[in-house]
Amino acid sequence: MSVKACLKAAVFLAAMAGSAHAQTQITMWSNWPDEPAKKDWVTARVQEFEAANKQCSVKLNFIPKADIYTQAKSAVRTGQAPDIFYMEPDQPEFLAGGFLEPLDSYIDLAGLEDWAKPAWTSKGKVYGVPVEAYTVELYYNKDQVKKVGIDVPASAQLTQAQFTDLVKKGVAAGITPISQGVGDRPFPGALLTYEALLRRLGTDDYGKLLAGELSYKDPRVAEVMGWVKELVDAGAYPKSFATLKLGESHYYFYQKPGALTFPDPSWFTGRAFAAPESGGMPKDFPLGIMQFPAMDKGDCPNCKTLAVAGSFVLYSKSKNKDCAGALLKSMANVENGTKWMEQVSLQTGLKSDPAKIKSPHEAYFKELTARNADVKYFFGTPLFHYRAKCAETFTQVMNNAFPAGLISVADAADKMDAACLKK
């Protein structure tokens, strides 16, 4: 080969290498490795982005949420965090530590629901793309509830006494009244208690309770906790409550051994609508959604918790903010919000067009929409509001020990006040 030919080859290779370098690779960590519908949605958005932006490629990893948080906490400090990562608004330390980039100049904020923006707003800037939103719902097995002799009224809301009756009848019939477990989550055991507290106290006082401005010894709080304790003592929860994992509690509800009700955020669909052989709900399962019971002397029977969960944030020290910002921009629009609703059958903080939603779970959507008509939302679950020792006490006491029947109302109130009540 002549010198000239060698030089030509070298120039060609250098050009190829140059063009390869021109492509920027960004890294992205997403949750939902075990939720096919959500995983597919994220994968599809990334693939669409890569197809439309040849100068950017995305190294996408699906990692369980707890691992993302742990790894991200170390990585952000050393400048090694991914350009985009999954985050929920209940991890405010990332924002407070200055590790998140404001997105106002990267995405079109008109693509986000107005009610979802505050979850990620700080000092007038928006820091996250709120993909996943949810309401706290009470799912039930229509056939089993009917079988034990309880008729759910047209309003889909039982009274406090009727719900007590449902629990007692379920126990008498040998059917677990409430499928719930806290083996791997810090919140499910408290869902019934706190939804009952919200309906009893109304949004203002409930907000004060979660802000540490109202004592757990308030007579109204004590009444609600006393009622929950009555249900617990009657055998409302599975005996394996302490070790039952979230995925297992799904299976417990709609497969074996079966239960009357299943309090769960509306992200229920992520597991329930998976194929039955993958642990999903059987096709003919008689699923219903009822409102949490209306509490006696309740200030707000039509109240309900609404929250933003899975979101994507941009790392403030990212060296590839252009590509990363462009990816987030490509996600945050009405079209993708509609696709999320269709594919995941779950609410989203992205704007969506309900008229265009075509889903095989249309009946479910109709019922979910009906349960969310004329409701008054309270924003955020307890863990969205509680921090540090108060959050840990909530997890140990209200999520675990209290619904497991390990602790009295007075002791639970003492521990929560000691950890959360502002002096």
Partner: protein, 322 residues
């Protein structure tokens, strides 16, 4: 120098002469490694030791005097240590860890010794049992934890199923969900995992015992119980104590099994110092590493002090001669 020493080719004054020899001569000795060669061998090991052990340890102690929020470091003196003194959860974790560290090794060592004695006595299928009993040592904590979570499952776990089969259904419970049984349940799991290791060490020690002493005892019509009590166990004492101290150190740092099986619950009944440090560092809605560093620093001191104390207590003044 005596004639005998010369004849034997030894030179008793040689060390003294060597110490008087000039420094340069020592390095010129072709049988000795040169300084650069020494460096080649030492530097990687020292770099790894200082980089991955010494520096992080000193840095942890240094960090314990700061509050570290995001990129900001605020010196707080001994405030983290004062807060630690008043931290109820920390003291619960200390209590649980001490139970682990002092009680569980007795179970570990006793189980290992019993298994080793069973093999030494020649139980049927001894070769198979030796492998079977050692296998848990090879399993990861994650596998062991999941296995035992199934065993303890309230609805279909082996423990409760056995109790029900024996007509003792009233005793069935959520072993990991009850604060009264959770810690014991996790300790049993840990003992199961490590019994094989203790068994192997005990078995090796038993086989190294002087046969003539044991045979003499048999000639004296010494029964198994008496032989065990008066001969085997006393002669194995140094091995057993070393196993105890090793187990003690391991249990003072126990984390994996607790984290997977109970996460420190219910009601902090299984919280250990290590799980609490992890929670404070990574699950507390804060980036502050100052407070968890203070816990880690205190616990480092406690573990060192406890090991020194145990060594002093267990140091046998009357060494066995055989």
């Amino acid at each position: 120098m005596s004639d005998m020493a010369k004849h034997a080719g030894t030179d008793v004054e040689a060390p003294a002469r060597a110490s008087r020899a000039p420094r340069t001569r020592r390095f010129s000795d072709p049988r000795r490694a040169s300084f650069p060669v020494l460096l080649v061998f030492l530097v990687p090991a020292l770099a790894i030791y200082f980089g991955l052990t010494a520096y992080p340890a000193f840095r942890t102690i240094y960090d314990s005097f700061f509050t570290i929020e995001g990129m900001e470091r605020i010196p707080v003196g001994f405030a983290n240590y004062v807060a630690l003194w008043q931290d109820e959860t920390f003291w619960v974790a200390v209590r649980n860890t001490f139970i682990w560290a002092f009680v569980a090794p007795i179970l570990d060592v006793a189980t290992g010794l019993l298994l080793a004695l069973a093999l030494y006595a020649g139980v049927p299928f001894a070769r198979f049992l030796r492998i079977a009993w050692f296998t848990p040592v090879l399993l990861s904590y994650v596998v062991v934890a999941i296995l035992w979570m199934w065993i303890y499952n309230y609805d279909w776990g082996v423990v409760n199923e056995l109790l029900r089969a024996m007509g003792l259904g009233d005793l069935a419970r959520s072993w990991l969900g009850d604060p009264n049984t959770a810690l014991a349940a996790v300790i049993v799991t840990h003992a199961w995992k490590w019994a094989g290791f203790n068994m192997v060490v005990c078995l090796a020690a038993i086989h190294s015992l002087p046969r003539e002493v044991l045979e003499a005892s048999e000639l004296d019509n010494c029964g198994w119980g008496a032989k065990l009590r008066y001969m085997i166990v006393p002669m194995l004492k140094p091995t057993l104590l070393n196993l105890y101290v090793l187990a003690f150190i391991g249990k003072m740092k126990v984390f994996d099994l607790v984290w997977i099986m109970t996460g420190g619950g219910p009601l902090w009944a299984t919280e250990t110092v290590s799980t609490y440090v992890y929670k404070r560092a990574f699950n507390w809605n804060t980036f502050d590493l100052g407070y968890p560093s203070a816990i880690a620093a205190v616990w480092f001191g406690v573990v060192c002090a406890a090991v020194i104390l145990l060594n002093k207590i267990f140091k046998s003044k009357d060494r066995l001669e055989y």
